[in-house]
Amino acid sequence: MIDRLALDIAHLCAGGLVLVSFMLLYQDRLTGLINTFALHALVVSFSVAWQAYIQQAPQLYITAAIALGVKAVIIPLALHRIIVRLGIHRSIEPVVSIGQTMLAGIGLVALAVMVMLPVTAQAGTLAREDLAFALSVILLGLLMMISRRNAVSQVIGFMSIENGLILAATGAKGMPLVVEISVAFSILIALIVIGIFLFRIRERFETVDIHLLHQHRGEQP
């Protein structure tokens, strides 16, 4: 009975993450986008913590804590500062078309479910549904990356992909510690590098709109 409830809650978390991903897609203001991402990270960290609880895998709490601390608090704060410093915190990002993006997003979720359907129940119901949701989050994150022009939004899209990966990794019961380390590791490195790059890019181009970057190509036609 407790299993049933635990599963439902995990399911709810995963579904919630997909929902937040849609919210990310919907946001066209940078400030709102960053806040929504913080929510995204929050949901992930809760989900991971819940998994730690039901799998009785205490090491997952670390992952949850990292997700909460770094992605839900530090990065959003840093991004807020960056966009303020760049003076783009009030700008509305030209998004392709919210309606079309949403439709595409729904299509992607359907695709994720379809792809996961043939997986035998042997892998466990939890795993299968978690995986479908994780795949949806990953695909939605990619969709976000390609529908936005602003580097900050792209980084957020990328980090939402990583959240999806964490969801998948923690859903895979008993996956050795290596995964957690690697995820934490990659979050750290990614953050540093992104920070360096954003810094350099601002220094060089006075903008973080990578749309302008391609003008400085090594090879003109």
Binding site: L139, L142, L143, Q154, L213, H214
Partner: protein
């Protein structure tokens, strides 16, 4: 044993090539390298002659643990290989001998010396290779070595482009052959020829192999429409290399074709013969027509290579048709004709390129319009070139006539073929062959007449000097061979008997029991030819005439200005030029084949500007095949090039698209 010794020669040549890299800057390197090449070629020539004239009962084979690891490199020396080895090493020896003298004028010896022996070695290797990998390896290595030689004078305009086209077409040919061998060997990789011989391919597969072999070997040999590189690349190389490329390398290509189609594939179908012979006929006529329009001496010779390759392929095609219809005697005749022409062409084409090289060293000119009168300054070269010209124009009593005569005899046997298409096609091909032979004579009247006869058209032509003794020795040897092979063809045809026997199961009647070294293709009542008798009769008649005139007629002689119908003009510009010589033929054939257009600009009376005449020729094949290909590649390159200049977002979209597409495929699949 002969095979081992031959491979030893190859190793020696490769060592000379390696030494050439290090030593090329020394003055002594030129005689040393060419000397080694000459000695090695002569040794290889005698080994090959031994194998051809006294063939061992079983072909010698050898496997070395190099090349494809689990297979090794297989080598084999049978009659066919031996014959082509004779051709290759004869050409190689002559070119080396010529190089001893010619090489001293070389401006960039470091770009020639390492590659010349390597080229010779590669050609020898192709001829003894007995597995697909070794064969293609040597084949492409041969292309590469000759490409390096073509690029030797890379700073001269057009040479780099010639080298480019050459290597590209050579690689195309190699690709076609790789595919052909891929079919023959199957996917398990039975690459050795012994295994390939034992399998008999299906009809479709055999046809594919034939087409691929024709494309592959044909592109190397210069079969129209794959000939375009040849007239550019052959002249670009130093002249002795041009001789090797034209005289020998194209023959190695013929060898490749014969080896694959006659030996490896198995029984042919009759239409193979039709295809090959038709390709040969078109090649012959197109080659000679191009040559007639050409004023560059070496390029003219290169186009004649195309023509002669066409004649060889006519013979090969007929041999295939006869073999398919189980007429071994006729097949042997056609094959012998083709192979004899292989030998003959290698001899007189090398001779002619040597002559052109001598002219080039003496004057620095390849353009015939700036030559003339060289017969006075270079009488020996002129005489030897004349012999070569007569031989290539298929005039009796020289060798070119004999092989063309044999080809005609094979054509005359075609009524016995049962297929209607062949019955109609072969006479037409005969007409093409006759046309190309007659046009070749016209072309060599032009080549020899404009270059050597008349009055000098430029200062360099007026001050030319006879070429060196090494070069003359090489040319003399070849000219003597032209005559010997023309007067005593029976010896040569007998030497070819084992080859014909091995490939067609029959051979020409041997000279024992025939009078006076007569050659007889099938039966004496049908036709026969006796070069020796003809030669003696002509000599007798000419001698008789000379004696009678000496005895009875006036022998006095006065020198005077030319008569020229009473209006002699001392300016050499009033002579006929190469362009004006070929004008009638250009009007007859060129308007159709080349879309030749003459643009005459005639100033109004009283105007002071000069009149001018421009001839514009279009190579329709080039326009129809190569230009569109290049355009398609350029178009695709331009279109795809846009992908280089996308935004990161677009690239991410590509990744995303690939992911979604593959997921969809997976979802549908499952």
């Amino acid at each position: 044993m002969a095979l081992q010794a031959l491979l030893g020669c190859v190793a020696l040549l490769l060592a000379a090539a390696a030494a050439g890299i290090g030593l090329a800057q020394r003055r002594a390197a030129t005689p040393a390298i060419y000397g080694v090449a000459l000695a090695t070629s002569v040794a290889a020539l005698s080994l090959a002659l031994g194998a051809l004239l006294a063939p061992p009962r079983l072909a010698a084979t050898l496997a070395l643990p190099i090349g494809l690891p689990w297979l090794g490199a297989h080598f084999r020396l049978d009659a066919l290989s031996a014959f082509f080895l004779v051709v290759a090493n004869l050409g190689g020896a002559a070119a080396s001998l010529y190089g001893l003298g010619y090489g001293r004028h070389e401006e960039a010896p470091a770009r020639v010396l390492p590659f010349f022996p390597a080229f010779l070695a590669a050609m020898n290797l192709v001829l003894v290779a007995d597995d697909a990998f070794t064969f293609l390896f040597s084949w492409e290595f041969m292309s590469l070595a000759s490409w390096a030689l073509v690029m030797a004078h890379h700073r001269r305009s057009g040479n780099a482009a010639a080298g480019y086209l050459y290597l590209l077409m050579a690689s195309f040919g190699t690709l076609a052959l790789i595919l052909a061998f891929g079919l023959l060997a199957g996917w398990s990789g039975a690459y050795d020829f012994a295994a390939i011989r034992n399998t008999s391919p299906s009809m479709l597969m055999g046809a594919a192999v034939l087409v691929l072999a024709l494309a592959g070997a044909g592109s190397k040999a210069g079969v129209v429409p794959l000939h375009v590189w040849l007239p550019l690349a052959h002249p670009a190389a130093p002249s002795h290399v041009s001789a090797l490329m034209s005289g020998v390398m194209t023959k190695v290509a013929v060898y490749g074709f014969v080896r694959i189609v006659f030996d490896l594939v198995g029984a042919p179908y009759w239409w193979w013969g039709a295809l090959v012979a038709l390709a040969g006929g078109i090649t012959a006529v197109m080659g000679v027509l191009h040559a007639l329009m050409e004023h560059d001496l070496k390029r003219l010779l290169a186009y004649h290579t195309v023509e002669n390759i066409g004649i060889i392929f006519i013979g090969l095609g007929l041999a295939l048709a006869f073999t398919a219809n189980e007429m071994p005697a006729a097949a042997a005749l056609a094959l012998t004709a083709a192979l004899f022409h292989v030998f003959n062409h290698s001899v007189f084409k090398s001779l002619l390129f040597f002559g052109a090289g001598a002219v080039l060293t003496a004057t620095g000119e390849r353009d015939m319009e700036r030559l003339g009168g060289l017969i006075h300054r270079m009488p020996q070269t002129a005489f030897l070139f004349l012999v070569g010209s007569a031989a290539i124009s298929a005039l009796p009593p020289f060798n070119g006539f004999v092989s063309e005569w044999l080809t005609f005899q094979a054509i005359l046997l075609s009524p016995a073929l049962p297929q209607w298409l062949l019955k109609f096609l072969v006479p037409a091909i005969g007409a093409l062959l006759a046309l190309s032979a007659a046009l070749a004579a016209a072309c060599f009247v032009k080549a020899f007449g404009i270059t050597f006869l008349g009055r000098p058209r430029s200062a360099v032509a007026r001050e030319a000097r006879e070429t060196d003794r090494w070069s003359l020795a090489a040319m003399c040897t070849l000219a003597a061979l032209c005559l010997v092979a023309g007067v005593l063809p029976a010896w040569f045809i007998d030497a070819l008997a084992p080859v014909a026997q091995a490939l067609t199961g029959s051979h020409l009647p041997e000279r024992h029991g025939l009078d006076w070294l007569t050659i007889v293709p099938i039966a004496q009542s049908r036709s026969s030819y006796n070069g020796l008798l003809l030669f003696l009769l002509i000599a007798l008649a000419a001698g008789l005439a000379a004696a009678a005139i000496h005895r009875f007629a006036s022998s006095r002689l006065r020198r005077a200005p030319a008569w020229d119908c009473g209006f002699p003009d001392p300016s050499p510009a009033t002579q006929y030029t190469a362009g004006s010589f070929s004008q009638p033929i250009r009007r007859v054939f060129g308007t159709v084949v080349f879309r030749a257009r003459e643009e005459v600009h005639m100033p109004a009376p009283g105007a002071l500007d000069s009149a001018s005449l421009h001839v514009r020729l279009r190579d329709l094949l080039w326009d129809a095949l190569y230009v569109p290909t290049a355009r398609v590649v350029a178009f695709a390159a331009d279109r795809l090039n846009a992908v280089q200049f996308l935004t990161i977002r677009a690239y991410l979209t590509l990744v995303f698209g690939a992911l979604v597409a593959l997921l969809m495929v997976l979802a549908v699949w499952q």
